[in-house]
């Protein structure tokens, strides 16, 4: 049965409660933190050696699609009615809009230490202690909108500039790729911050706290953000029906990216799937 991922702003009170409940249960069982660790482990920047599957690479989109699917399956084992909602940050743009409400993800971090003190993920509730981090901080942190130097969320025009590009990705297939939908959406722009922070990356910065670290999965907004990023890939495919994931073939020996990226029909680690197999999700889920 194909299930539906909804705009988080449309969830009923019961749907919110069940989504939060499933998150807390995965955290309690320890499974949640395995996802945090996996994301840390796979965040290899493109100046390092070896294969990079998750970021600064063409497979940024299929890697996160599969990552979300696995996590969503875990949520649905807890509660079969739950799916990962998406946060449309082009519409819900303020620090008090959804998903930053008491019954969803809770609000901003406090000024003194960025600690999230409201909602289900507040440290004092005892159900959301950070254990898989890149620092020793035990509480979830946010700094919505970057209070000391305010930043705005990407706009629908920013997203459109990515979705409009009919080229999926292009050499050198990394964070310096000057064109292509993938890097425009992932958001490693040229120039200096904050102008260089585009779409996906910019949202990580806007949320702040844990979301700017390699341990960004510790903030459950990670899933809502990446569901919206994933939705853009679906929109891009509808917009450009003949465009495909690139590269189709692995870079040749001697190419600087040889062995560093995942081509269309190559295995996407750590899974047994290829980017090609991840292009169409219509048999598993749809977006409302």
């Amino acid at each position: 049965m194909v299930y539906t991922r909804k705009d988080v702003s449309t969830l009923t009170r019961a749907e919110r409660r069940r989504f939060v409940g499933a998150l807390l249960e995965l955290k309690r069982s320890g499974e949640y933190d395995d996802y945090v660790r996996m994301h840390i482990e796979y965040y290899t920047p493109d100046g390092e050696s070896g294969l990079r599957a998750a970021h600064m690479a063409p497979s940024f989109l299929p890697w996160h699609r599969k990552f979300l699917l696995d996590f969503e399956r875990a949520l649905r084992r807890v509660d079969a009615s739950v799916t990962v909602p998406y946060w449309d940050w082009t519409r819900n743009r303020t620090r008090t809009a959804v998903p930053w409400t008491e019954d969803l993800l809770g609000g901003d971090g406090r000024r003194s230490d960025r600690q999230v003190t409201s909602g289900p993920f507040a440290f004092r509730n005892g159900r959301w202690t950070i254990t898989a981090g890149v620092t020793d901080t035990e509480y979830l942190m946010r700094d919505l909108g970057r209070s000391h130097d305010p930043l705005t969320l990407p706009t629908s025009r920013d997203v459109e500039s990515a979705v409009a590009d009919p080229l999926y990705d292009t050499a050198p297939w990394n964070s310096t790729s000057p064109r292509g939908f993938r890097n425009k959406l992932e958001g490693w722009g040229p120039g200096h911050p904050p102008a260089s922070w585009r779409n996906h990356n910019r949202v990580h910065r806007w949320v702040g706290g844990h979301m700017v670290s390699g341990a960004s999965v510790n903030d459950p907004v990670f899933w809502l953000h990446h569901a919206f990023v994933d939705l853009q890939w679906s929109r891009w495919r509808r917009r450009h029906p003949h465009a495909r994931y690139l590269p189709a073939e692995p870079p040749a020996p001697g190419d600087a990216q040889h062995g560093r990226i995942v081509a269309r029909r190559e295995k996407l680690p750590p899974w047994d799937v290829t980017p090609q197999q991840m292009e169409d999700h219509g048999a598993i889920y749809r977006y409302a």
Partner: protein, 155 residues
Amino acid sequence: MTVPVNSASKPTRRRRVLWGLLATGTMATMAPAPPSPGRSAPKEARFAETYRGRRITGASHGAGPSGDPCRAMWHVTVDGHPLPLMRRADGSWMTMVDHYQSYPTPLLAARAAVDELGPTARPAAPDGNDGRMVHGGGRSERSRTPKDHVHGVHA
């Protein structure tokens, strides 16, 4: 989409590779390489400063293990705790603490990490035994079995 039944459905159960991955990339935990006679002397650089109340130090040694002089090894610490650096393709630097942005120099990356760490947080550090990442007293350590490790990439 086709998702094979036997595809790895769970993230890695072991973190042993994690710190190894960082260290391999950054050489941050390696001892300084002795200058090799007969080759051009490695360019050394270091910095030490107090930034927002935190002590930052960094030292580089001109060549990486591959002998590539462009890939300088940096050992950076914050209040004595190692802060692994990673590189971007454009030559800039980033840390795990501030991971959606990179900086032109190791010092700027270290300062940006301090901005994120605040006055007291420590970067997580390798535990010195098998390289596993620990923090907060290793509270999160749980027993893992090797078969849980599903990766073929970094292992």
